[in-house]
Each structure stands twice: as C-alpha cells, then as structure tokens.
Symmetry: C2
Subunit: 198 residues, 2 copies
Amino acid sequence: MSRGVGRDHETVRGAIAAAACVLVAEEGAGALTVRRVAAAAGVSPGRVQHYFPDRTALMLAAFDSVQHAVAAEVATAVGEAAAPEQVLTAVLRAMIPTDDTAMRRLRVVAQFESLALTEDILATRIREGHAELLAFLERLLESSRIRLDSNNTEGTLQGLLATAEGLSGQVLLGQSSPDRALALLQTSIDDMFRGVAS
Amino acid sequence: MSRGVGRDHETVRGAIAAAACVLVAEEGAGALTVRRVAAAAGVSPGRVQHYFPDRTALMLAAFDSVQHAVAAEVATAVGEAAAPEQVLTAVLRAMIPTDDTAMRRLRVVAQFESLALTEDILATRIREGHAELLAFLERLLESSRIRLDSNNTEGTLQGLLATAEGLSGQVLLGQSSPDRALALLQTSIDDMFRGVAS
C-alpha cells in the first residue's frame, strides 16, 4: 500500500468516525449503527464496513476520535503551564465545557459513557483512560514539592476528578452555567492546596 | 370509571413504565420506543399507546417512575435522621449505589440523563428536580443552626452535589468501588462541616 493510499484510508476512516460522533451528539448513542453512520457520513453501509468490520469497531473508533480531541484540547489548555499546580488546574478546568465546541465534544463523551453502561468493551476503555489520568495527576504532584496534608494523594485527586466530572455534567444538563461551575471547581482546587506544604 | 378499573389502569400503566426502565437499564436509552417497550412488557404496541399516546409520554412516565423509586430510597435512607447534617449526609450517600438494586436504578437514571442531552423536555424535568433538591438542602441548612463559613451555602451545596454525582458516575462505570466512593464523599462532607459554627 503506497503512502498516498494509506493516507487516503486514514482520511476516510477519520471522516466516518467524525460523522459517527456528530450523529451521537445529535441523536444519542442509540443512533450508533453501521447503517445510520453510513447515512450520516454520506457513504454506503458496505463502505463503512470496509473500514470497520462491525458496530463495535465503529464505536471504539468514534470513542477514540473524541477522546483524542479532548486530549488535544487539554494539551492546548495546559499550554505553557509550568508549575504542577497550574497543570492540574488546567486539566481539571478543561473538563468544564465553556464554549459550543467543548459542549458538543463533552456531550459526545457523556453519550459514550452512557453507552459504556451496556457495552463492556467501552467501559474497559473508559476505565483505563480514567486510571491513566489519575496516575498522571498523581505523578504530577509527586514530582513536585507539593505534599498534600491528607496523606491520601490518590483519594484526594479522585475526589477532585469526581467534583470536576459532576460539575461538567451539571453544565451539560443546563443545571449550572460554565462560569459558576468553574468558580466552584476553583474553590475545590484551592481547598486542596490550602494548608499544603510546598 | 369505577375505582377497580382506575386501579387496574394505574397497575398496567406502572407495569409498562417499569418494563421501560428495565429495558433502558439493559439496552440503553436508545431502546426506548413504543414498539420495543411493548415487546418488553409483553403487550401490543397499541396497548402501550392506549396508556401513553407517544414516545415522549412513555419516556416521561418511565423517568418519573425511576425518580419516584430513587426518592423512596432516599426517604428510607434518611429514615429517622433528625439533625440536618445527618439528613444531608443520608441524602448524599444515597446517591452512591452500594448494592445491585441501587446500581440498576442509578444506571437507569444515568441513561435518562444522557437521553436528556437530546430531549429538551426531559432536560427540563431533570433540571427542575436538581433545583428542587438543591433548594431542599439549602432550606435544611438554613433551618438548622449550621452556618457555613464560606458565606455561599448554595455554592457549597452545589459543589457537594457535583462531587456526589461524579462519585456515583465513577461507581457506575466501575472506576471506583462503592466503599471508596462513600469514603471520599464523607471526606468532602466533613470538610464542609469543618470549621463551621453550629
């Protein structure tokens, strides 16, 4: 396979996965079928199956594509942040959607999380991602001079992640404005660092 | 209509709504159609439509039925709790699933929350429920002698609800054990009451 064809393959594959994400955002995870994604992507079901042998492969590719977009967004948000506490804050703040693009993206993530309640393979993927994020944040604090006074860094970080996840859900469901969620998140972050020896 | 017929009507209506909840728990919110709920309830689609004129009516009835079950569960958990801080703690702890029944119930709630991302009428219902819960907890603290030192009771409670919601999601997705989530929730509750003049 020449590089040109290889690139084309990746392009079409990516376009189908992207169409699947748009479909999930607009109609929910239940719409994630080969037939409906094909229609949304403007290709035949056979062409979708050429790239994704079954619905599970399609689902995982679509999930990976939105996860990738979220990771890129977090990387941008972290940007030039140098101090570990700035990185931690940037990562957590990126979980709160503050514009239409992030709202759409995190709505897709939320749909995949609900899909994971009935699809074990997706649940495993999401659990792994969560564990990796938690381990990254732990290493971040451990590599710094920050020592939490709770003696339970992992638990504290897990609780903070839960708060960010809950606030993100509140914004997605229209229970909280993004600004309010960000302010409440910042209070939780400040509480964590309060009384910390750095 | 005699009382007997009226009771029967409610029984059948309730059984259909319950079947819809089981279906949503097992197959996701996308399965919530008149045809599929009819099959799950063992009745004809026409009979479902006799009780619920359209899918939206069916969806709202199913949501109400699981919300009702959750409220009953919370009421039981609150039980004889007298002090406002005990009631608050019981309400928040009831949001973390600790047995199979609660797991199934909160999985249904999570599916309806994902459905609310594409169904405005359901989003409104969920927002109202959230606002009511928040207002209840606020009144609870205000009626007590507890004064939070943050000067922002509503914000503090909203953050605490977000933490409980996030931890609940972690348990549903298998990212955290129920015990661990309860312990982290308790830490957040204790932090809130720390330094409080009661």
